[in-house]
């Protein structure tokens, strides 16, 4: 579920080049653009209100004015699926911004500290990193209450240890570089050295992983919505829609298909683009 980014972060999985990779990445990028367009301006693609219920037309199969059918309340599935892109993308990108912010602060501090402080910080990060992101997110949701902003923050914080660990090791590689020593030597203050010289040179791999992190965060968000800890009815959100479809699988199997297709296509597209970026900018430098 959330294993892909974790596996990539631990270096257990290395992506390798294959013929036609660029074409695949361009296609994935185009798909992503369409999803982003759905999220920004769903009104361009569908005029029907995703919340408009019609008790006389519940669980209608696809066709006849409803290209993907209607749900248990007679709402148009196509409209709900299109509007669902917004919640997923906002949650995915927002959560990654939270993780990046936390990861950069903690990672730089851990990377620059030495001796006992470094040992405590890195061991703590190791232990926290080992815990499943989803568990940390569930605890935070328990603490902060169930809502979409909570979910965003919870998922973002859950992933911080992973980001912080990567940046820590990058900072350790960079901090003894010649230009850093030079900056120190001519008397540039420590904070300025960190912000102007160390972070920009250490952050590359983190930004690339953040791309894949968006996909992971989208899956986490939809999974938590699926179990009732995220989006609440009647929000059009893919995970919640799949959860609601659970009770009608025998009667209306189409309800369980389309939100999943959109979810899967979005995450696949993000992963393909992310891996391409990783191959381009990270592997070459690291190996």
């Amino acid at each position: 579920m959330v294993v892909s980014a974790a596996a990539l972060q631990t270096g257990l999985v290395r992506s390798r080049p294959f013929p036609g990779g660029t074409v695949v990445a361009v296609v994935a990028g185009a798909v992503l653009l369409v999803i982003v367009a759905l999220a920004i301006a769903p009104g361009l693609f569908v005029q029907v209100d995703p919340l408009a219920a019609d008790p006389t037309r519940t669980l209608q199969p696809p066709g006849d004015g409803h290209p993907l059918g209607t749900d248990q309340l007679g709402r148009d599935v196509w409209a709900r699926v299109v509007h669902g892109a917004q919640a997923s993308l906002l949650l995915g990108v927002g959560a990654v911004l939270v993780s990046l912010t936390g990861g950069i602060v903690i990672g730089v501090v851990a990377g620059l500290s030495r001796g006992a402080a470094d040992r405590v910080l890195s061991r703590g990060l190791d232990i926290l990193f080992a815990f499943p992101d989803l568990l940390i997110a569930i605890v935070l949701v328990a603490l902060l209450g169930v809502s979409l902003p909570t979910l965003l923050i919870a998922i973002g914080i859950g992933a911080i240890p992973g980001y912080a660990r990567i940046l820590r090791s990058q900072v350790q590689l960079v901090r003894s570089a010649g230009y850093v020593e030079a900056a120190r030597g001519i008397g540039v203050p420590g904070i300025l050295v960190a912000v102007r010289h160390i972070v920009p040179n250490a952050i590359g791999p983190l930004l690339v992983l953040a791309t894949i992190g968006v996909g992971t965060a989208i899956i986490s968000a939809s999974a938590l919505s699926f179990v009732g800890l995220g989006a609440q009815p009647p929000t059009p959100e893919w995970g919640l829609m799949l959860s609601e479809s659970r009770n009608y699988l025998g009667l209306a199997p189409w309800l369980g298909i389309w939100p999943g297709v959109f979810l899967a296509v979005t995450v696949i597209a993000i992963n393909v683009v992310g891996r391409r970026l990783q191959r381009r900018f990270v592997s070459g430098a690291a190996r």
Binding site: V3, S4, L12, A130, F226, G260
Partner: protein, 337 residues
């Protein structure tokens, strides 16, 4: 313990090191280090969860008073007294820690039973699901890796595509599709519950698919590397067939990272199964945790999380100790070489 500036991937990387003789010393050191970890995690998780849940909005007795029609101040005071919620926070914390050491995690507000009893009643179902899912994933991943490693560009491309799908597609949706197909359209498997082995099939397959994706990637990468090493040529010149080369010699190179990953996954599965348990309406620990979170049942949330955290570290430590015992190269990390 020494500090080293190794990259993040170092933990799981294959290292070159001189052959070590003192196997027991190395295993012992790893064991001690891990026991310290377990104690730290037990204490830290208990403390962290306690502090966080103290910060939770709302009064804890509100959950206890749910379902009571007339909440008079007298009733409220009685409940507060019964559950010791009027004691100083530090005292509550001390008693909680003391309780954990004696194997007592308190009593659930909602279900009104000892937390340990609830955990004991549910752990079996979750363990069965996690065990079956992981076993299935290991079997499928080994098979895929054995067949596809070192087979040229096309095989690599196909397996990479399948693996990408397996890790990108949310597993609960795969489960939902399986449920639609094999429980509703063609009613072979039950759509809910945990009675009998049939009820285990769909949840275990659902759990295994993303794990297979990652595991087979790990195995295949290592096997690809190992197939180019000189010892493979040596084995081949001794007349070993392709099957023997792969199963007896090359696969061994890939086992260790796969073992580490499996351990990490198994530890986290006990919580990670929550989504799948919800989907298949299957009783288990994950669902207990979710319901506790939704109901605001503080002792139960704390109990399950502390239990899960400790279990997680224990399993990972076992894997770590096992790996040190199995792989001579890891002994150098334990400080014996």
């Amino acid at each position: 313990m020494t500090t080293h500036a190794l990259p993040a991937a170092a933990d799981l990387e294959v290292r070159r090191a001189p052959a070590a003789r003192h196997r027991f010393v190395a295993v012992g050191r790893t064991l001690v280090r891990r026991l310290v970890d377990i104690a730290v995690v037990l204490f830290a998780s208990a403390t962290l969860v306690f502090v966080m849940l103290q910060l939770m909005p709302g009064e804890p007795e509100d959950v206890l008073l749910r379902g009571i029609f007339e909440i008079t101040p007298a009733v409220r005071a009685e409940v507060i007294q019964d559950y010791g919620l009027d004691r100083p926070v530090l005292l509550q914390y001390g008693q909680y820690l003391l309780g954990i050491l004696q194997g007592d995690l308190g009593a659930s507000y909602q279900i009104r039973k000892p937390v340990t009893e609830i955990i004991a009643a549910n752990i079996g179902n979750t363990a069965a699901l996690a065990g079956a899912g992981l076993a299935l994933a290991i079997a499928m991943a080994t098979l895929i890796a054995l067949v596809s490693a070192g087979r040229g560009a096309l095989a690599s491309l196909v397996t990479q595509a399948v693996e990408l799908l397996a890790i990108s597609v949310p597993s609960f949706w795969i489960g939902l599709l399986l449920l639609t197909a094999f429980s509703f359209a063609i009613p072979i498997f039950p759509s809910s519950g945990a009675d009998g082995p049939l009820a285990l099939v769909l949840p275990a397959v659902t759990l295994a698919i993303p794990l297979t994706g990652v595991l087979s990637q790990i195995l295949r990468e290592r096997m690809d590397e190992a197939l180019d090493l000189p010892f493979v040529t040596t084995v081949r010149t001794r007349g070993a067939g392709e099957f023997r080369v792969r199963v007896r010699h090359v696969l061994r190179h890939a086992v260790l990272p796969a073992l580490t990953f499996s351990g990490a996954v198994l530890g986290s599965l006990l919580i990670g199964t929550a989504v799948i348990e919800t989907l298949f309406a299957r009783p288990g620990l994950g669902r207990v945790l979710l319901n506790a979170v939704i109901a605001g049942d503080i002792p139960l949330i704390m109990g399950v999380i502390v239990f899960g955290a400790v279990l997680f570290v224990v399993i990972n430590s076992l894997v770590d100790v096992l790996a040190t015992a199995v792989d001579p190269r890891l002994r150098i990390e334990a400080g014996v070489s």
